[in-house]
Symmetry: C2
Subunit: 78 residues, 2 copies
């Protein structure tokens, strides 16, 4: 069964660029990618923060947050 990596974003330009690169890079035979728009799904903000996401875009893999460039701080999305 594939692992799931979660990509959190907020629809910003920095997020979009990162998303397109991540979708190209990641080995989809090993990882499914769930894409979460945090500005549109504010009910997921707590979950993202709990795993250590501080800004978007960020990819969470195996519980480890990889912040990819910097679009917006999580606090700005609340």
């Amino acid at each position: 069964m594939n692992k799931t990596a979660t990509f959190y974003h907020a629809g910003c330009a920095v997020c979009t660029t990162a998303e397109s690169k991540i979708m190209e890079l990641v080995d989809r035979s090993l990882y499914d990618i769930e894409i979460v728009h945090l500005a549109q799904n504010k009910d997921r903000l707590d979950e993202a923060e709990k795993v250590g996401v501080r800004s978007v875009p960020a990819l969470v893999v195996d519980g480890i947050p990889l912040h990819i460039n910097h679009g917006a701080d999580l606090a700005e999305l609340r």
Copy 2:
């Protein structure tokens, strides 16, 4: 022929975590990854800076720098 993605780092703990995740995530049937230790290869600093790398760890794909978390600013490595 595979594309090459270049992972720039400086041997720091943040870099090591990011490197291990990136090596797991990236589809190696599409991308070769070149790993460059910038603190040990300062002659590569100019090249990294020119493509837009501002801090390590960073992965450069198709000329686009993805800064992954934050270990050290490039200026600190000079």
